[in-house]
């Protein structure tokens, strides 16, 4: 058992209102520089939709992530020899058009325009060419609120699993449905970007698992951009280096959550430490598709288990880190309650950002001015919240996104979430019978205590409960390979204030 600590994340999609505050917080801190205009380390997409860059989930086009070839785990992008052949000419990169052409507006004109017959306007100006744009054809969330549909939403890769009938139904007026998917770097346990980089510029920090891209070692091959199936590394055309989300590690190191977490209006984001068994990584990434979620969950270890704690300590994980893992909200969502799932586990990168899938409204028709949930009485189920089969967005779609097509995993999550709703509704509104509540609890394979705990951490969590930022101890971790005092500069001619070298 090789126990390591990982700063991990949960996004609760039910709470996301799609306001893009997270994206703006990130943009203002990290990507407001020259060459980063088109980058959104944090972006929010509308689903169903094609996302940013367009159809990033379609690995037949972008060749990101891993695949199993002859029982071996291989990069989908290329073999070592193939990578050498394509090194000057990677054929699977997204073009700038697949992201979008970044633009600003000519605000000056509103103040400086000469007097004329019409009001002055602020024309869109391309941030690439600096010239006015005649039409804006795409943006980082062009699908927003079905704005780009049906051209975009119907091309969502996850809809491939659905039958033609089901796909058609999604476009019926009463059934139209969408939800938001905020995305940052998943800081994967088996990252495709790291494996694809020919320069060895990308690495996973040992003490917290944050995946970073060295701006000194990057040689602009751009293989990471293809290698990452989530398209979360970006090429800066001004610096000639690739860049990616750094999970705001300077903030984490000073005890603050990352900016996108901190600024989230819906408070959908949770951050905490997971302890995992690194020995299982390869095995876990190689299991058949339908076992991926379970295998990944299995890799996460119980931070209260004395055996795990002993193994963690043997690996140099501090007591404070272990305490932090015990308080981690991520551990609860992912392992204890099992209601958070990784995004596209089928890419086999073992992402460490988990999503609680959204509870979309069930299908209803109006009858005599009231909503009538179709056919519920026949099934003997309580109205409104319980009918998973009548969910507007087919479970198969969610399974394609969150469980590599394993419908059972997604159903288990939803049954539990429904149990929480019914339990609390029976408590507050009192329009469910105790029998209904018990039935929902047993269907959700849960208990009243667990449901109450889920409710509290979902609806009423405090800042400290949402963000359990561990003491990263960077100053200690760095001493593993460097003597910090070596970097302290000498003064004058080097004679007057010579720093004594520390001996280890």
């Amino acid at each position: 058992m090789d126990i390591r600590a990982h700063v991990s994340m949960v996004f609760h999609l039910d709470k996301c209102i799609g306001c893009h505050t997270c994206s703006i917080a990130c943009k203002n801190i990290w990507t407001d520089r020259k060459g980063t205009e088109y980058m959104w380390w944090n972006n929010v997409e509308t689903k169903p939709g094609t996302g940013y860059p367009t159809q990033w989930e379609d690995q037949e086009k972008y060749k990101g992530g891993w695949e199993k070839k002859n029982e071996e785990l291989k990069l989908k992008l290329h073999s070592k020899l193939g990578g050498l052949g394509n090194i000057f000419y990677n054929p699977y990169l997204p073009t700038i058009d697949d992201y979008y052409e970044p633009w600003t507006y000519d605000y000056e004109n509103l103040f400086n325009a000469p007097e004329g017959d019409d009001q002055p306007t602020a024309r869109a100006i391309s941030m690439i060419t600096g010239k006015p744009m005649d039409s804006i054809e795409a943006g980082p969330n062009w699908d927003d609120d079905l704005g780009g549909s049906p051209l975009y939403a119907r091309n969502d890769v996850n809809l491939d699993e659905l039958t033609d009938d089901e796909r058609e139904q999604l476009n019926e007026l009463e059934r139209v449905v969408f939800f938001y998917l905020p995305r940052i770097c998943n800081h994967c346990l088996n990252p495709g970007c790291v494996a694809a980089c020919p320069a060895g510029a990308i690495y996973k920090r040992g003490e917290d698992g944050i995946v970073l891209l060295s701006q000194e070692k990057c040689r602009a091959w751009r293989m990471c951009i293809s290698g990452c199936p989530y398209k979360k590394t970006y090429f800066n055309w001004a610096s000639g280096k690739s860049e990616k989300c750094i999970l705001c590690y300077p903030r984490l190191e000073s005890g603050q959550p990352p900016a996108c977490f901190h600024s989230c209006v819906g408070r959908i984001r949770y951050l905490g430490v997971l302890l995992y068994d690194a020995d299982q990584i390869e095995k876990c990434a190689s299991v058949p598709d339908h076992e991926l979620v379970a295998a990944q969950r299995n890799m996460i270890q119980d931070p209260f288990d004395p055996e795990v704690i002993a193994a963690a300590k043997k690996n140099g994980i501090s007591d404070a880190m272990i305490t932090s893992a015990q308080n981690s909200p991520v551990y609860k969502f992912v392992k204890k309650w099992q209601i958070a799932l990784p995004l596209h586990p089928d890419f086999r990168t073992l992402p460490m950002l988990y999503y609680v899938p959204p509870m979309l409204p069930v299908l209803a028709k109006t009858k005599d001015g009231n909503y009538d949930v179709d056919g519920l009485e026949k099934e003997g189920l309580p109205a409104m919240l319980s009918s998973l089969e009548k969910a507007r967005m087919p479970i198969k779609y969610m399974a394609s996104m969150f469980s590599a097509g394993n419908v059972q995993e997604v159903e288990d999550v939803y049954r539990k979430l429904i149990a929480v709703r019914i339990f609390k509704r029976a408590q507050k509104v009192k329009d469910y019978q105790q029998a209904d509540v018990d039935a929902a609890l047993s269907q959700g394979k849960t208990t009243a205590e667990e449901v109450e705990a889920i409710f509290r951490l979902t609806a009423l969590p405090t800042y400290e409960e949402r963000f359990v930022v561990p003491p990263l101890g960077r100053e200690v971790a760095v001493e593993a390979w460097e003597v910090p005092l070596d970097h302290k500069r000498e003064a004058g001619f080097g004679v007057r204030n010579k720093i004594a070298k520390r001996k280890f």
């Binding site: 094609t50 860059p53 367009t54 000419y89 054929p91 699977y92 997204p94 004679v495 004594a500």
Partner: protein, 287 residues
Amino acid sequence: MTEDKKPSPIFRRIMPFLILGAGLAFMAGTFRVVSAMPPNQTDGEALFTAKGCNACHTIGGGDLVGPDLAGVTERRTEEWLTNWLTAPDQMLASDPDAQAMLAQYNNVPMPNLGLTPDEVAALIAYMGGGATTGGATAELPTGDATSGKAYFVGDKRFENGGPQCMSCHSVAGLGAALGGGSLGPDLTTSGFVQSDAAFASFMGAPSTQTMGAVWANTPLTAQEQADLYAFLSKASVTKRDPSALLQITLLSVVGAAVLIGLAQVYWGKRSKGVRKPMIERTLAAKK
């Protein structure tokens, strides 16, 4: 942190001055070394050999690669000679007399030897002084063209380890189109190979910058010179077949087309983009 021994306060105070002083002393030293360089040579006869004039010229011994210099001070004005010796490359660009002479001597240009004004004056004085040098220094033995070709392409090594001619020069009669390197002049029509005396005299101690540097420490033997001369003066070598030029043009065009075609087959799908084709496909499906 421990600071065991600090320099004494007085020493610390004067240290910057000591360093400054040491720096100045060092600079003064370099200056003296520069000024101690040997003075300009004023001995024209020695210069004529040292600068390699004799590789191409005689005084009263007949033309070699370049003209016989006997009586040159009467044929040309002193000003013209001074300009010519100082910067022959500039004269060739502007002076019609110089250009006519270049044509007369098989387009072998006089190299710029980087002479100082003193050296130029010394050389003119020497040439006007009525001195003579001999003709070509030694008779070449009988050469073997086959062996010369082997030397040229590098099948046979030069005794003193010099590089094969082909690495810098090309010549007709080697294969079809690609006859060698292009750093040095094409030897097919070169004036260096006009007479065995000129060839031997030049190859004995080449005075041009590149050739001089290459051959100074690895001189050719007399037999090697003779073999090379025999090869280079063969009829098939001294004239380039026009069809060879056509051949090389065709080869490059076809080669480029094949490479582009291969790249297109292998990388053709690159950077087609995803969004635009997707939109076009969707719109087409609707119709």
